[in-house]
Symmetry: D4
């Protein structure tokens, strides 16, 4: 594709102007994936309007940080709606089927990190990946993550979720040779600063292969891990 063609493509990129939003019906063509709507900070009616515009071609739409009342409104107006309250993940329309070798591992340091981990796991599943969960495997009891090295070894991408000191991704990064997407969580108190300490810790990971997304951004991590997983060649 030439530059001219690329620009023409951009120029004619369709979006539905809703006044309060420009629903980007173009993204499925451009990025080849399930459409995503960020549910927080929008009224249920606004979210419904956007989802409707995006769901017109029959594909899957993922609503993240979806409030209960938004999920209810979607459910009343649209078919095929699934909603998980712990993670706030809502899907509208049919989910893709994972390929045979697909495998994303989602690991957490503690029990309190599970809601964020579920956001990652369900996002990856909505995008077409198979997900295995390893929860409460923090580094203060190192034998817990060591007992899962065989599962980790088969993953094509890993999401590592941790609050407090955020040490888990560094240990996991040393055990696998695939990208580790680290998610700091706002779990902790005092000098955890709502996840900043974990975020900084992960930025400074001594393990190569670790990159970081925003605090509590399970969606972002699941999105990237699934992207890597789905594009990986069979071993």
């Amino acid at each position: 594709m030439s530059t001219e063609e690329a620009l023409v493509k951009l120029k004619t990129a369709p979006f539905v102007e809703l006044g309060y939003a420009k629903a980007d019906t173009h993204r499925r063509i451009r990025q080849g994936s399930t459409e995503v709507v960020y549910g927080a900070g929008k009224t249920p009616e606004q979210s419904l309007g956007i989802v409707k515009a995006l769901a017109e071609d029959g594909g899957c739409v993922l609503v993240t940080r979806c409030p209960k009342e938004t999920a209810d409104l979607l459910s009343e107006n649209l078919g095929c709606v699934e909603y998980d309250r712990v993670s706030g993940i809502c899907t509208v329309g049919p989910r893709p089927v994972p390929s045979p070798n697909s495998l994303v591992c989602v690991v957490t340091a503690g029990t309190s990190d599970i809601p964020v981990a579920e956001e990652a796991a369900r996002t990856a599943e909505a995008l077409g990946s198979r997900v295995v969960r390893i929860y409460d495997a923090g580094v203060s009891g190192i034998h817990r993550i060591l007992s899962k090295t065989d599962t980790l070894a088969r993953a094509r991408a890993v999401v590592a979720v941790a609050g407090m000191e955020g040490a888990l991704p560094s240990v996991v990064g040393g055990l696998v040779d695939v990208p580790v997407v680290a998610v700091p969580t706002s779990v902790g108190y005092g000098a955890s600063f709502g996840g900043i300490t974990a975020l900084l810790s992960m930025m400074n990971s001594c393990s190569s292969g670790v990159s970081v997304v925003n605090i509590d951004n399970g969606f972002g991590a699941g999105y990237i891990a699934s992207m890597i997983d789905r594009r990986s060649a069979p071993l």
Copy 2:
């Protein structure tokens, strides 16, 4: 592989005890990639000792943040040493040959970001990827990055390097559908805080698919991008 086997493997993981370092000769087996030594904060003699221990099996060893005198000492004592002063990247031993479809794009916002970008590019090359560089394509002249959309569309992973407000990865992330590894640089002054502003900006990217590594960590970004690139299936 069972848990028992995994643990046995870990237990017998060989490293060469050098007193000041435990050279991890095991990593090539465990992680299947070129060995890496972080050159800063080590005396030239310490780096030489570690590189020697790692290079024994004839593979490639990558020394990052390599001071000039360390590169000189390596060059005097070992064969096949290449050193780039701008990025501080030094390789010892034969580099892997990239596969036909390999493609990592390294883009920068400005001219001053080039040293970090070169660290990323040369790391990815040392690990076996083909790299295309797009430099000085910051968002204040948006037509510059738009003119490269065709090249970006063929990449299997993108490294986006920017200082100041760090907006480039968000724009790039919206143009491609592969993972974008964002590298904040310490370029800027005043409220750029040595890269913190760019780092925070990138953490909050509105584009899905963007993850972040530490400030000026070109190596980390090149490592992850190459990992993704080499494992990608041909389209």
Copy 3:
């Protein structure tokens, strides 16, 4: 005007002493614009007292961050009151009519930035500018803002409102050749720190012509943009 005269003017500058406030009846003469009262942190009675003192000469008074009960009290006691709940903007008295060439563009990155944008837009309107709104045009779908370049090109001042990574003003600043007043919003989560990340990002904009006001300070941006707009010469 000589220094002596300037000082005499200052010395005799009238204000109405209300005990809890010194209502600055002088400002309309001194600054030639609609009077402004900051409604937050004042009791409805205090705001009413100040507005009354300022509205005596029949001009327009603008109350920002106006709580519902303050608006109600003003409405009960004074004529010609308009109140917008989304932005908290309340005007008392007749609004000025915009000049034919007047044009302020208010753009937002997302849907959640609209309340702050409305504060800017309605402030500029209350001061006598014509306003065009371009909402949900963030940089992750760059074609959305590109499709509005013709409108932007006619603006005499632009207000760019964004949370999260705050990249929009840099892109807009590169598309226009008039001042861009950037408003960071507290929209986002995690490392957006209630708008600090967007603020810092905007401070470091690589585009010339961008200056910044406080987080969520739609009023300040609208005020400046209108000031520039109304004083601009016809092209």
Copy 4:
């Protein structure tokens, strides 16, 4: 101009590809002003290459943060070079002549703020504005700025430069009814944090009409003030 035309214009926007930089020869058409090169973080040879590409049509090129050796190299290779060491401002080519009513006031709180103020003043002059300087007029001796109210009253835009507590723009903002562009400087010690305190203080100015640029960013302030000045209608 239609969207199609706007995009075509962007698509064909010319820049000279120099490898390390994309010199934006398009900006003069697009933004109608003197071209600007940021001199810091570039080698003298890189800056020369870019200036050459930009100066080809005979217009004025402004190099900011220009190191002495870069200025020397430009002087040796190009005609009509002026260099001010205090502010690091270098101009290549003929400066525009200011219009009769043009007036930008540049005020500083102290003597140490002068280098940044000169960057602002010389930038505005290079862009075609007339500039009046009012230096060392900080608020601890309030009579100093009060004695200049007559000059301030004639300005079409004001640049207010201050370090330490950064209070000057708030006082100036209350004395004039034109936009005040505030520049925090890194002057001070201890809890001035290299200008952060002044920056935050200015962000929170109680005077309407004040917007802020980055610490020590005299260029940015001069650029915006001149933009406003040159577009202002005669009173």
Copy 5:
């Protein structure tokens, strides 16, 4: 007094051990002033117990940050209780009578700073000073504070209370030649950070004679100002 005597005095310093508190009955002798109890973070019963222990010798006890229910309980159990809800200041017992020349000025930048200012004013009054209040005299309308220079000139200590950019103490410090105790308030939004910006600004005041107490610490400022006032020699 010799060191030995000083230590003996300390050794025998009486306090009433209440288990949850050691009520310091010694302070009145040691520091010669009204006793003070910090009411926040204590149950009403705890505060009552402490006040009782301190009030035994018939002097005045000042309770700061006093919750309504604590004031009620004190009122039910003790005589001579005065309570101001705005500032949370409660006094138990007879207040000292100010000397003829006593004068503390308490000035605020805005209307929202009044609760903190009242804490300062009432503290100084409870300790025996005469207080004059100058409210809503912020620097954006500089003529407001200038109109009070005659009153300020008679003060023996000044308390300057301001939120947002905290510029008032610098201006006041230049107008008087007595100590100015600056109190940052948590008034403001966005980058005011709950008073941190004002605090930093005040720390960096360009006026000599300004010192700073904690955010919203009206008590501390009133205490110091009164201490200075009461010890001043008649002019």
Copy 6:
């Protein structure tokens, strides 16, 4: 014990997989102490499940930050439950009996620090130490802590709890010759930043022998102090 044995021990380290948690039944063997469950961020049912798994061998289980409803559920389902609402400490099963020479001193600066101090004290008691409490002995009335030097001299470890400026541990550290574990509390306002100031102050203590735990982490301090106390030799 050889490395092989150590690894075998780790490999076979038992934990009960509960899905949401991996209850570490191994820790009592490995670390020889009462088991600990962090109660916050877990549902009452999750906590009950974990406590049940840990309490199976009849030892003592300590639940920290235990919500009232969790304590109630534990009480309904398990025997020997003690719950302190102030500190949120809940113990299940029989507590160890302290040795004759055991002594941990827990000191606080103020009354508001007591809840954190009680967390420390009750943790140390649950682990088998004898505890003496010295409350409200802050440094502004230095005679209060000086009057307790004889008690402090007998302690085998000290926990020093303080908010605000956090000066107490430095003074205590100079009075004793045993380790002082400092606990910053979130007590205070304004620039105390929820305990950060106290934390930083304690990190910089000029007294040797002072180490620090997280803000409000009474549990951590009590745990360490008791560990030191129980292992100390009789004098």
Copy 7:
């Protein structure tokens, strides 16, 4: 004095316009004290020019943060110059003689705090106070400051200088009943953050009567302490 008179006084306030500075010859009348010039950030020639303008009436001029070469230039051109290299304090002209009861105590926590303490002490002396120095009396050996309680008891104002955890002012504040001006110093390492920790600690002092000036601002503290000292009534 009426408002009119006050404003006339301000209006006619004389200053010598030097271009780079407005030397405030008015301040001695307005504030009744020795003139002060901040020597850092000015060229020696600029400082000389300002000192000359201020010294014309034969009074004392104090130059703070005075570089060696500035002191030399002053010495060559003016009579009666005294310069202390440790503190950077330079006085030009005759110093005032202290009154009999004058007493300012300057205390430091450690030996490294002495340069800042000397700045305070010499400033107070230049302004006409008698100063007693108590150095190296930090709280980790509490008996050192306790042994000086008799001297402290006679002081009319205290300057307390400390780096690291900054605990000294709180202890001193509890021992005296006069204002304590706390000066944080940049002494320390790691989490002392160049004095920020000490500053924050002092802001949160649990002792009433403590106010704070900027990091390393010995001048400011000496100025305030002397102001209080000189205005105090004899006991």
Copy 8:
């Protein structure tokens, strides 16, 4: 010992007044350990003066952060001086002999952490402990620390030194059941912020038994670890 006796002891606590320092000859009696002098920020002559005063009774004096020239001056004037340049530790006089069961383990994450670790190790040795060093055992190659579990199991206190993400203490804390004193180092770059990230990470350790000292404070950690070690009962 009664309160009276404690105070008398404090009162008569001897120190040698050197003007610039109060050498605390009392500490050996009070705290029973080797005397310590902080060498940084003192002139060599000041350090010599203090060491002489402290060494008079023939005990051991430890000088930390000792500059080369101070060590040289001590060596010239005093006998039995040992100096280690890497850690800056200098001892004067005979070192105590460790008891048979004494064992402090000092572990580091990387090679660059060794200088701080040596400060800890040599401090503990100077105070009378036996020390085993385990260097370069960071968590990215977890088998390295796991291979040392047998040595760790015999330690009576552990010092864990790490920069970057500071994860090592959490892993070590889970492997041992003795106190772990964590030392953040300023090793790293970018978002490691000179050790702040490691410090925060360690404050939030998920392992019980971990407390933290200041960045690079090897001395503090060695001091505490040795204190615990020497007071431990034989197992």
